[in-house]
Symmetry: C2
Subunit: 239 residues, 2 copies
DNA sequence: CCGGGAATTACACGATCGGATAATTGCCTA
DNA sequence: TAGGCAATTATCCGATCGTGTAATTCCCGG
């Protein structure tokens, strides 16, 4: 439907890119790493915006600035590329929490609060991120390899959360930590979902405040209701 | 002349359905309502299992036991059918909570607990339901009509939850109910998500117990940790 | 500065998609 | 019970999908 991609035959190139005689498109060689990253980024952008159906080989190639043949050259097939893009997504998501812990003090409650807040603001809380996650859901449910990857990432994130909870100096019963981690993780997931799908229904930092208050209530403590640190945790390499 | 004398039609039927002479498939007339419901149900099943990409006109028709032409006959286009299926989905989801309240006592805490538990067990907590929801996410984000429908359903559900919270006899501050409703709704959403995507990671009724405990902690009360009522709330007309 | 080979593009093909239109048939009614 | 018409099916069509395969071009090592 998109008239932006080139038809199969060189019937009439739109006239904007290549003007005159049917000359072959010039190109520059690039490293394998760069090309793979470009293609993965293109897939993530397309899936986030329009779902899996929007990630056609021609659209991916156009977004990455190459021709469709490269997809098959660097990845065995379109399916392999989608798999690689999902793995890259999960790695990036889980790393965001770790990054938030680097630039904060050593107090257990403070660190937990920073972890919670990081999950409830961009770039994690973002309509694009939810779209990307949703676009991959069916593939995760059907592909055993991706399901294992998802389980691993989920448990890793939850274990990190549980460790932060355990670092608080509270008397805990047996098996209590696990259920608290599940509950707090659910709060983060739910707020992430609602805040991303329906932005505009929440005031600035309201989602973060609710998250901190709820996690604190579940754990029986009071988390610092500190508002946005405003640009402190921006790190090179992030968007 | 591409050796495809039979473009679309089954050049060689697998031999299971229609056997020999090309006789026209017999059919029975049905009411408009039944046909629409069949098509909507087929769409929901296909989207839940394989995402939007699996809901092709041919697959939908096959699932509904008709031929693709009927889709265009009863709905203007495939897109219109998908829209109708989404509206039906949201209506069904929000009604599930109301149904759970019909078969329970009048105590405010008891009613809230029933509402929470209903959201955390089948048919609401179900991998298919999450798949269906995810399959529609991009359409919701892009289609203004569907976004309005989603907002309406979401707010209706949250208001119902807030009303149940308000019915508890507690001293509440100004604006507290809204944030509590958002937080409790987030807990339900998050547990619904995790429990559906990763079944098997939680023991029987564990999700419900965590949900009751978390909602209780957020509201500062203690919800009855009652386990499964085991078949009491099954209602005629439910699947 | 110039060959050689890998990187990249170009092109073609079969499958399938959503949609349009014509043909047929089941069923209500008179 | 026969006629008529809406319901349903059958068939075709252009577009686009993913993927092979051949042609071309950039770039590095000598």
């Amino acid at each position: 439907m998109t008239s932006s991609d080139r038809p199969d035959k060189k019937a009439v190139p739109p006239g904007d890119m290549r003007q005159s005689g049917s000359e072959r498109r010039p190109y520059i060689r690039d490293t394998e790493e760069n090309r793979r990253e470009s293609l993965v980024a293109a897939v993530q952008a397309l899936v986030a915006e329009g779902g899996r159906q929007a990630a056609t080989v021609r659209a991916i190639a156009a977004r990455a600035g190459v021709t469709p043949g490269l997809i098959r050259h660097y990845f065995g097939s379109k399916e392999d590329l989608l798999r690689a893009a999902y793995v890259a997504l999960m790695d990036g998501m889980t790393n965001k929490g770790e990054e938030a812990l680097d630039s904060v003090g050593a107090g257990p409650a403070e660190r937990l609060a920073a972890f919670v807040a990081a999950a409830l603001r961009p770039p994690v809380l973002d309509p694009k991120a939810v779209g990307l996650w949703a676009g991959y859901l069916h593939q995760v449910q059907s592909d055993p390899g991706l399901l294992a990857q998802h389980e691993s990432s989920y448990l890793h994130y939850r274990d990190r959360l549980q460790q932060l909870i355990a670092d608080l100096d509270r008397p805990v019963a047996d098996g209590q930590l696990r259920q608290e981690a599940i509950a707090c993780n659910a709060v983060l997931d739910g707020l992430w979902l609602e805040g991303s799908v329906l932005p505009g229904h929440f005031a600035e930092n309201e989602v973060i405040q609710i998250g901190l208050r709820s996690v604190g209530a579940i754990l029986g403590i009071t988390l610092a209701a500190f508002t946005a640190p405003a640009g402190r945790q921006h790190r090179p390499g992030e968007k």
